[in-house]
């Protein structure tokens, strides 16, 4: 059974262990009085909340730019979109869609600048992306204080200026996707239909994009830039496109996240947001230079299941709150595993 062995090696032991761990969590849950149905509600909520951010990583991985630790660049664009939409007093669907519309131009502009930079530093993308992300988050922290926002729901009451650390979306577009066509089964289970549909829509669109001429070229650039070049494709342009796309989806991703979470978190909150997304993608089976829609779905689901279930299940088993440590070990262990694996491009 060499093929099975090969499949296991390809998939990697860490993933199999994580997968078994998740299965064990779900099986074990009823025994420690954790309700499975409400757990599933949480898992689906968090899945939808995070899936788009994970999806945002795919184009750059496919184009060979590595894991986008600079995801905060897109997140900042999304934050600009949502805060501006609130400032303009947009509520409900107009608010959510308005936020997306307002975020897009920023995302495209940021993406261009960011992609241009990454094209200049081939080979060092990941470290630089990380620090570009940190820089833009801290730089924007200044702007959140200085920009002339005036909506009383957003600015500090006592100073009259400067945005609050967390801004509630209550009364704007909080949970607008989650509650759209939401399905209620029993007392404890609720399926966030609208949000899941939105995620599916974006995933399908991304799938289509990867099957287009440009998407094909992008994948080829990631797989073998020399081949793509010999085929008349400009690697730099494809990489730039992938970065812009990643940034734009990142912006949309944070908007989906916010509406589900119910709050806009600014200042230092986006600083480390790329890491869980990266971990989720890798847990789903992606490598540093190959990722598919399936990786996104599976990875997000597994990772969010762990985050949902460990605090309740593990804590009641161990009588101590070890979920944080487990989260750190699993997510970073997964990234570490992917980084230290021989790059699978055969040369």
């Amino acid at each position: 059974m060499n093929t099975l062995k090969q499949a296991v090696t390809d998939f990697g032991w860490p993933r199999i262990i994580i997968f078994l761990f998740v299965v064990a969590l779900f099986i074990g849950a009823p025994f420690v009085n954790v309700r499975v149905d409400s757990s599933f509600t949480d898992v689906f909520n968090r899945f939808g909340q995070n899936a788009v951010l994970v999806l945002a990583l795919v184009p750059m991985v496919q184009a060979g730019c590595g894991l986008n630790f600079g995801l905060p660049v897109g997140i900042i664009a999304g934050l600009l979109g949502s805060t501006l939409a609130m400032e303009f007093g947009l509520v409900g669907w107009a608010g959510f869609l308005g936020a997306i519309a307002l975020a897009l131009p920023f995302a495209v502009a940021f993406g261009f600048a960011y992609g241009f930079l990454l094209n200049k530093v081939k080979g060092e993308e990941m470290t630089i992306a990380m620090y570009v992300g940190f820089s833009i988050v801290t730089f924007f922290a200044i702007l959140w204080l200085l920009l002339p926002y005036s909506s009383p729901n957003m600015v500090w009451g006592y100073a009259g200026r400067g945005l609050r650390t967390t801004i509630t979306l209550e009364g704007y577009w909080g949970r607008i996707l989650n509650d759209f066509l939401a399905l209620r089964i029993g007392e404890n289970f609720q399926f966030p239909t609208g949000m899941i549909l939105f995620v599916v829509l974006l995933t399908v669109l991304m799938g289509f994009f990867l099957r287009s001429k440009t998407g094909t070229a992008m994948t080829a650039v990631g797989s073998n830039p020399d081949f793509a070049r010999a085929g008349g494709v400009s690697a730099d342009r494809m990489r730039l496109t992938s970065v812009v796309l990643s940034t734009v989806i990142g912006a949309v991703g944070i908007l989906v996240y916010q509406q589900s979470f119910g709050f806009i978190q600014i200042y230092n909150a986006p600083l480390f947001m790329a890491f869980p997304a990266v971990a989720a993608l890798l847990i789903g089976g992606a490598s540093v230079n190959k990722a598919s829609m399936l990786n996104v779905i599976v990875g997000t689901f597994l990772f969010q299941s762990i985050l949902t279930m460990t605090p309740s299940v593990i804590n009641s088993v161990l009588q101590t709150d070890m979920s944080e440590v487990i989260r750190i070990l699993i997510s970073n262990g997964m990234i570490l595993y992917a980084l230290t694996r021989k790059t699978k491009v055969t040369k």
């Binding site: 088993v317 161990l318 009588q319 101590t320």
Partner: protein
């Protein structure tokens, strides 16, 4: 293989010696750096067998001397185990007394009673244990034992 050439032998010796030295230094640092809290009090015996001193200047080693009046209690933090305790009563003409004593290595706090010392009551020093978190934890453990919960291995209090 079986026979070492002189150079290798010399290096092995040097390295072994250094390894030993590493531990020796660690032990010396431990012994000389071990901190002890010495509580000094000047209290009369509630039963009246010895009185408190009217006033005294106490010093331990090279630490800054402190004045003690009846009922006072204060602490010295000292390094190492051997210490010289000097008690100089304020009463004119009273004789100064210097004693050498040794704090056990494992002891964190020692209570020295200068009134006992001056009155010649033995033992004038004793181990002092404040009620600690550990004890509180022990109490809680006792409580937990009544309604046991699953614990993970040796985890838990």
């Amino acid at each position: 293989m079986s026979k070492l050439d002189p150079k290798t032998a010399r290096r092995l010796t040097v390295r072994a010696a250094l390894g030993v030295l590493y531990f020796v230094v660690a032990v010396i640092l431990f012994l000389t750096g071990r901190g002890h809290t010495i509580l000094v009090d000047n209290k009369a015996d509630p039963a009246g067998s010895y009185p408190a001193l009217k006033g005294a200047v106490v010093s331990i080693g090279r630490a800054k001397p402190m004045e003690f009046y009846p009922g006072d209690r204060d602490k010295f933090i000292v390094k190492g185990q051997r210490h010289v305790l000097r008690v100089k009563p304020l009463a004119p003409g009273a004789q100064e007394r210097t004693v050498e004593f040794r704090v056990p290595l494992g002891e964190d706090m020692t209570l020295v009673s200068i009134s006992k010392l001056m009155a010649g009551v033995e033992p004038w020093y004793e181990t002092f244990t404040a009620p600690t978190a550990q004890e509180r934890a022990a109490e809680r453990a006792a409580a937990d034992a009544e309604n046991p919960v699953e614990t993970f291995g040796s985890f838990g209090p």
